[in-house]
């Protein structure tokens, strides 16, 4: 019972029917929000002096027209973005079981550390004597990454996972060229992330798909049969996208090396094995590490990420610039960045440069903070908890949902197919959208492609048992209802989100990609 402002207790009253339209269009805490351009009324959200400047140093290139930006004050801008934020699901507000995406907790200490002026307000080309703390931080992170992976070298500059894949393949390309060979074919399992074949094509290779076996593992025999003198590399995800560890990986690596090719491992799922398995012990030559997955730099609505690539002895020499080296000439413990290909140290043959400057420093700070907080024992425990939680979900749901690969344990994600929905009229999409009404973000749907109507659930290590139990209860009930053909929850779901299903076909057929001023209103002005 709550009290109103006259001190009189208010009763529960009659329920406000959902069908009644409100006067404002808003519904309680659910606000509709216009585009920022529609809120324009010529105000300003900053106070800056009105300085006049002449034309004499502008080379005749002064802007002739307005930009067309809207004008709002600070409170209006803040309200606009706060209202937008409330239309988003987030890991902080609920379990976010997106398989392959690793939506784990983002510690706030990491954010605080990245904002220390010595990191956040540091210029990439400031004199190197004034950036030694930053170089030391990168060096420490490199130590963590190489020791966790058992690999000798790491290229730090790639800006995301796919960028790391490109970096790894360009290193492989350079190593093949250095051997005076020409190898153009890359083997990619059909269960791979879409970035793998896209990156291989981007780097100038042809893609040859390797089938999966009925048990969800890569067909190692088919893979070995495809090896040949024109094969540059294989790209394998391990644990794979079905949430399974490729147990034959060591033999595969051996066969790949014997064929003169390189082993690229997609490290998107490193979070299942960090602190437990060292990829270097498996015979891998290159692997990117999504700092925004395994080491919890926040996903931020789709970025920024960071994708350093660990490299084997066979590829280390080809790492791109910049290179971080100990500075023998400087004070003890000082570092130096080598930013020029021609100045690379003896034996190094950088293949080029991935991007301006030195990579995603802001993400490096967050990732190192995460590592120091967890320690090696915490990293190992996180991997174990992630795997334990996924298996708990698999074990708790396999009686009502269908696990395509039988009773065996999974790694950090539990995969289901849609055979349990057969004959119900409910699709994977409907099932996922019904989860939204239950307050959950859906799992990854229709990926990996090797499973029909795939539902890939990755709970991560960040959920309590109570949270997992509640999630399991909801999914169990949904699955049970679907199988009993009680389908009203599923038809047209979600019903309770800020938006119902959106017309994606119309969006693609006639793309509207920007706001444009109303021509009538413009003419009137």
């Amino acid at each position: 019972m709550s009290m109103n402002n006259q001190g009189r207790p208010s009763g529960a009253g009659e329920a406000f029917p959902a069908s009644i339209a409100t006067i404002s269009g808003d519904r309680g805490l659910d606000h509709e929000e216009s585009l920022i351009f529609e809120l324009d009324h010529g105000a300003v959200g900053v106070d800056l002096p009105d300085v006049k400047v002449g034309d004499n140093r502008l080379g005749g290139m002064r802007r002739k027209g307005r930009v067309g930006l809207p004008g709002l004050s600070e409170p209006e801008v803040i309200r606009h973005y706060v209202r937008l934020s409330r239309m988003n699901y987030a890991i902080d507000s609920g379990l976010y079981p997106l398989g392959s995406c690793t939506m784990k907790h983002n510690p706030r200490l990491n954010e605080k550390m990245a904002r220390l002026p010595g990191f956040g307000d540091l210029h990439p080309l400031a004199p190197q004597s004034t950036t030694q703390g930053a170089l030391e931080l990168i060096s420490q992170l490199m130590t963590w990454l190489t020791r966790l992976t058992g690999m000798p070298a790491v290229a730090m500059s790639p800006k995301a996972g796919a960028h790391g894949e490109l970096c790894g393949l360009l290193a492989i390309r350079a190593a093949i060229a250095a051997r005076g060979e020409d190898r153009k074919r890359i083997l990619v399992p059909e269960s791979a992330h879409g970035t793998n074949p896209a990156t291989a094509a981007f780097a100038g290779f042809t893609v040859d798909e390797v089938p999966a076996k009925p048990n969800g593992h890569v067909d190692a025999e088919a893979l070995k049969a495809k090896l040949g003198p024109d094969v540059a590399a294989i790209m394998l995800t391990n644990p794979n996208t079905c949430g399974l560890f490729e147990g034959e990986i060591i033999e595969i690596a051996k066969a790949v090396h014997e064929a003169g090719a390189y082993f690229y491992c997609d490290g998107a799922n490193f979070n299942a094995i960090a602190g437990k398995v060292r990829p270097g012990d498996l015979g891998i030559d290159a692997m990117h590490i999504n700092l925004h997955k395994t080491f919890s730099t926040p996903h931020g609505g789709g970025g920024p990420g960071a994708g350093p690539v660990v490299l084997s002895e066979r590829l280390a020499a080809h790492a791109p610039i910049p290179l971080l080296v100990a500075d023998g000439a400087g004070p003890k413990g000082s570092f130096r960045l080598i930013e020029d290909m021609a100045a690379a140290p003896e034996g190094a043959k950088p293949f080029g440069r991935m991007c301006a400057f030195h990579g995603q420093m802001g993400m490096f700070v967050r990732a190192l903070t995460y590592m120091l907080s967890h320690g090696r024992d915490g990293v190992r425990q996180a991997s174990e908890d992630a795997v334990l939680s996924a298996n708990y979900i698999l074990a708790s749901l396999k009686d009502v949902m269908s696990a395509p690969f039988g009773d065996g344990p999974c790694m950090h994600e539990a995969l289901f197919d849609d055979s349990f929905l057969e004959g119900t009229g409910v699709t994977t999409l409907d099932f996922a959208k019904a989860m939204i009404d239950e307050g959950y973000h859906p799992m990854t749907m229709y990926f990996p492609l090797v499973v029909h109507g795939a539902m890939l659930i990755e709970p991560t290590e960040s959920e309590s048992k109570a949270s997992l139990d509640r999630f399991i209860h909801v999914l169990h009930t949904l699955a049970t209802e679907a199988r009993a053909k009680k389908t009203e929850r599923f038809a047209g779901a979600p019903h309770l989100a800020p938006r119902r299903r959106l017309d994606e076909t119309a969006a693609a057929r006639k793309p509207v990609l920007r706001w444009k001023p109303d021509p009538l209103k413009q003419a009137a002005e």
Partner: protein
């Protein structure tokens, strides 16, 4: 461990449900030889927040933050004042800890700001359409060259000598796989003859304005010459605030604009994360890389936003995608779009004018010093001076005196003899008269 909710009892109960005696049973597919004991990792153990904060703060303290000294570095990354509201808003959980908006019903916040971002970028650059960002300006430039190679079905890319050398190296690294990439000679303070190099095999010319030495370029004649030969003009902007005062590339005939958006909303961060801006003409839309957000309606007819045209992208098209890009710069876009919303038309215009006025004042003062020659005569907030001696050691000497004097051109062009005595300086709204006086004093002592 404070971030791990499961207790030992929870773990036991969960193992019991699974029917596994211990957690290692779950790792049974891992070859025994590959399961590493904890001792195999030569790394420290868990630490509390206080200890970690202490360790990181110690490292941070060894760096000289831009805001703690008279500071004049630019060359692709700029020190600007970011209003407090920006960082507050981007740290809201619903923005910070959400994923790519693949479920639009519960991601309208992200989708709407991306739609607003795309609109702002199109307006600023004077182009018809913009995407939802790429990693940074340099990778956006490389993607632009690849896109031009796809559109024209030609391989040759000509890069202006005024293009930031890191950008040029990034382009060379990826675009040389699809065709010949060449750079024109470096001509600090003047425009090279790039028009004469455009021929029937040319896919694109890439010109930065203001260029790496700060020089404002006139793109129109280059665009016309490129179009006459069926080639595209890619305009690069590393200081996006400049478009508050300068004619946008779209109005000068650019076909693709690749830009760095760090200056609006984003800190220096020692080089990343930044935000790549990418805009083009509507007719090239389907060759564009990266995510796009589009407007549509929901089942009740209400306006909403979705990711669209994803048939260009890797998760659908796999090896036939326009790019391999997956992650973009979401949160950096958000910072950009909030800062630009606070600025508005009036704020951006004023900010740009203040920057130009500061740089003009500094250039005037420096040009008055004996031995200093102003190399760039038309500039926005950044210009180059020539000194009587190599600037790389000089900048280190000035840093020792507490002044961060700028970027020696030789750091970017180490093999270019003519760059040795050049210093690139930027002045923004953050610089004060005291900063200028400190720089002049310090310089007087070393030249």
């Amino acid at each position: 461990m404070r971030y791990l909710p499961l207790t030992p009892d929870d773990r036991q109960a969960m193992l019991a449900r699974i029917g596994a005696p211990d957690v290692d049973t779950l790792f049974r597919d891992v070859p025994k030889a590959a399961l590493a004991p904890l001792a195999k990792f030569d790394l420290p153990d868990t630490q509390g927040e206080l200890e970690v904060e202490r360790a990181l703060s110690k490292l941070a303290a060894r760096n000289v933050a831009a805001g703690s000294a008279p500071f004049f570095c630019g060359a692709g990354a700029y020190k600007h004042h970011v209003p407090s509201a920006v960082d507050h808003l981007i740290q809201r959980s619903e923005f910070l800890t959400s994923y790519t908006p693949y479920q639009p019903e519960i991601a309208q916040g992200t989708l709407q700001y991306l739609f607003e971002f795309q609109t702002q970028v199109a307006l600023l650059t004077g182009m018809e359409v913009a995407n939802a960002s790429l990693y940074d300006g340099s990778t956006a430039t490389a993607e632009a060259v690849l896109m031009a190679q796809r559109i024209t079905k030609r391989g040759k890319a000509i890069l202006s000598g005024g293009l930031h050398p890191h950008y040029a190296e990034t382009v060379e690294t990826v675009a040389s796989l699809a065709g010949a990439v060449s750079r024109t000679p470096v001509t600090p303070g003047s425009a090279e003859d790039i028009i004469g190099l455009i021929d029937e095999d040319t896919a694109c010319v890439v010109v930065q304005s203001p260029d790496v030495f700060g020089l404002i370029r006139n793109l129109r004649p280059i665009a016309d010459a490129a179009h006459a030969k069926g080639a595209l003009l890619i305009a690069v902007v590393t200081e996006i605030v400049s478009l508050g005062l300068l004619e946008p590339p779209g109005a000068q005939g650019a076909d693709i604009v690749a830009a760095e958006g760090q200056s609006i909303g984003n800190g220096l961060n020692f080089g990343g994360p930044y935000v790549g801006l990418f805009a083009t003409r509507e007719k090239f839309l389907r060759q564009m890389p990266g995510r796009l957000c589009g407007e549509t309606v929901d089942a009740e007819g209400r306006r909403g936003f979705v990711l669209t045209l994803s048939t260009r992208e890797q998760h659908i098209r796999r090896e036939k995608a326009t790019s391999n890009i997956c992650t973009n710069s979401g949160l950096c876009c958000l910072a950009f779009t909030i800062h630009l919303s606070l600025l508005g038309e009036e704020g951006l215009t004023r900010l740009a004018r203040i920057n130009h006025a500061k740089a003009s004042a500094l250039a005037g003062k420096l040009a008055g010093l004996p031995g200093v020659e102003l190399v760039t005569d038309a500039f926005f907030n950044e210009f180059t001076i020539r000194l009587p001696k190599p600037t790389a050691p000089l900048v280190e000497a000035l840093a020792a005196k507490g002044v961060i004097a700028g970027v020696p051109a030789s750091r970017l062009l180490p093999r270019e003899a003519s760059a040795a005595n050049l210093l690139i300086l930027a002045a923004t709204e953050t610089n004060t008269d005291d900063d200028f006086a400190a720089l002049i004093d310090a310089l007087k002592g070393v030249i």
